[in-house]
């Protein structure tokens, strides 16, 4: 992989924040399995390890007031959008201090303040929501943009095509980012999609489609920022396929028998984080000590997040009945 910074020429501080955000996500995600085994968390647990370059590249290309909407593998995405790890961890613990007050869980995080507009668990079900958010931006004559992330499996759902069509039809400012990690649970892309190069699926809607290396954070950043600029200028939606890999199973309970050791090893060598840190060092943005220091700081931050989650209270039982309707 070749990391290049000649498109938007990001400054040292931005590059270091990109690195820090990727490390934060990795540290967060890798802390989870042990906590899950201890029974601190329930339900599904879809970890983002391996895909950090996509979420972080995307988030850094966005403005704070831009909307992000995602599927259910979203711990990394909400962290990339700026939500502190404490409330994200607390949500996994089901605590009332969690981002969704303990009522959403791993798959349904939300942060209205930071415009992370939800993690959704019905594959592709959130794509039309992104179109609607984009429509609301046009309607208000505002200049925000929506970035909608989903997996490779989503591109085989009917509603993916409805959303792509309507986005192009109404020229909404939405950037669709397909995180192609090669598998919809245990079914590989080639066994589920008649078209393996998923970026080609947007051509039916005359929406620009492109494919980027999802392990290369700067390549993701460049592509998404260009697409966002385009959307903000009123030129409508775009579609980016980021080819990536999840280092862990589909969810915590996945033994992963459908992926070969050789394949895993090959992708592990393309791990976006050490590749980026080596590049930072090679380019003279940071020394080994600073790189290691960031890892330790983020590890400490996650430890604090776990402590916060641990000490936070469960929701009161009365919360069972709150927020079903507006007046209760």
């Amino acid at each position: 992989m070749t990391l290049k910074n000649d498109c938007f020429r990001l400054g040292a501080s931005e590059l270091m924040r990109i690195y820090r955000d990727m490390v934060r996500i990795r540290e967060f995600e890798e802390a989870c399995p042990a906590l899950y085994s201890q029974g601190k968390m329930g339900g599904f647990l879809h970890l983002y390890s391996g895909q950090e370059a996509v979420g972080v590249g995307v988030a850094h290309a966005m403005h704070r007031e831009d909307f992000m909407v995602s599927a259910y593998r979203e711990h990394g995405l909400i962290l990339a959008k700026g939500t502190p790890p404490g409330p994200v961890m607390a949500e996994l613990f089901g605590k009332v201090t969690g981002v969704s007050r303990g009522k959403g869980g791993s798959m349904h995080m939300f942060d209205a303040e930071r415009r992370f507009m939800g993690g959704y668990g019905i594959v592709a079900g959130h794509l039309p929501l992104a179109v609607g958010l984009g429509f609301s931006i046009l309607y208000r004559e505002s200049d925000e943009v929506v970035v909608c992330l989903f997996g490779d499996g989503a591109t085989n759902q009917g509603v993916f095509h409805e959303a792509m069509n309507m986005a192009a039809l109404y020229k909404v400012p939405v950037v669709f980012v397909c995180e192609n990690n090669g598998y919809g649970i245990g079914t590989s892309v080639g066994r589920a999609s008649s078209v393996e190069q998923l970026y080609k699926k947007s051509c039916a809607y005359e929406t620009p489609g492109s494919r980027v290396d999802g392990m290369n954070v700067l390549e993701v950043y460049d592509a998404v920022r260009q697409a966002i600029n385009r959307a903000r200028e009123g030129a409508g939606p775009s579609y980016i396929e980021a080819v990536t890999y999840r280092f862990r199973g589909h969810s915590i309970s996945d033994p992963g028998t459908y992926r070969s050791e050789q394949e895993r090893k090959m992708w592990k060598e393309r791990d976006p984080i050490p590749n980026f840190s080596r590049w930072l060092i090679d380019q003279g943005y940071a020394g080994e000590a600073i790189i290691q220091g960031i890892v330790e700081e983020e590890r400490a931050l996650i430890a604090k997040a776990i402590e916060f989650a641990e000490k936070s209270p469960d929701p009161d039982l009365e919360e069972l009945w709150t927020d079903v309707y507006a007046d209760a």
């Binding site: 981002v99 007050r101 609607g132 409805e162 309507m166 507006a326």
Partner: protein, 323 residues
Amino acid sequence: MAVMTCREAINQAIVEEMERDSSVFILGEDVGLYEGSFKVTRGLLARFGETRVVDTPIAEAGIIGMACGAAMGGLRPIAEMMTVNFAIVAMDQIMNSVAVARYMFGGQVSVPMVIRAPGGGGNQLGAQHSHSLEALFLHCPGIRVIMPSVPADAKGLLKSAIRSEDPVLFLEHEGLYAVKGEVPEGEHLVPLGVAHIKRRGSDLTLISLSKMVYVCLEAAERLAEEGIEAEVIDLRGLNPLDMTLVMESVARTGRALTVEESWLTGGWGGEICARIVEDGFDLLKKPVLRLGGADVPMPYNRMLEQAAIPGVQDVIARARELF
């Protein structure tokens, strides 16, 4: 007071709310240039323009999902489904996005949208265009279900629905669009979840809504000739469900019969009867009874279709069983 049809009353409610609040807009199949397949949206495009009267592709899940996202983005969409049967295509969006968003995200987001959908039988439209599916939506918490019977309520309830912070499914009966009635001008709001006594009676409570209210009223007149005074309640919706008024009535009459056009099995009548029995068993002089649509896909043949929908004679016969 002006006399107008349900169709005109609904149109008036939409116009008034769009005039009042610039965040209200309407989207759906053929709502704009074609002015609605039932002409409910006549004149809207000319008045409000394409940004606020949005013709959509035939893509019900896309329409409801887009409306949901727009509502999350601060707008107040009115999404029209051409018939309620088509809303099933969007059932995932309705039940997995619209209805649950507020709760699932810990109260951080509102989805103030209205889904308007006509339904009901009587026009020989067969098994994919004329069902009454309110029970499906009643089953799902998080979404209000409203069903007007008269033009004044159609206007007043729709205006309240548009202003509601909750998503509202607003089910119109195709057989009522041409029904005329007096409608108050301007700011006429009917609160959601308040039932209405359409006819006073002391011997029996007939509980219904939408088109079946008319069937019940006619049956009540005939029953009066036999000396049975039936009270007719128009629920005007199922969520919120006004059980207070139902129980007050049953306390006076001691007899209850639910009358619905929807399939009897798993219909809303069973829910209401269960609640009456749970909360008011001692009030009852006779067991509660239900009347509903035949448990069959809606047939095309006129006679068969009529046989599938409760009629005046059916109500009378069932009511007699209570004496």
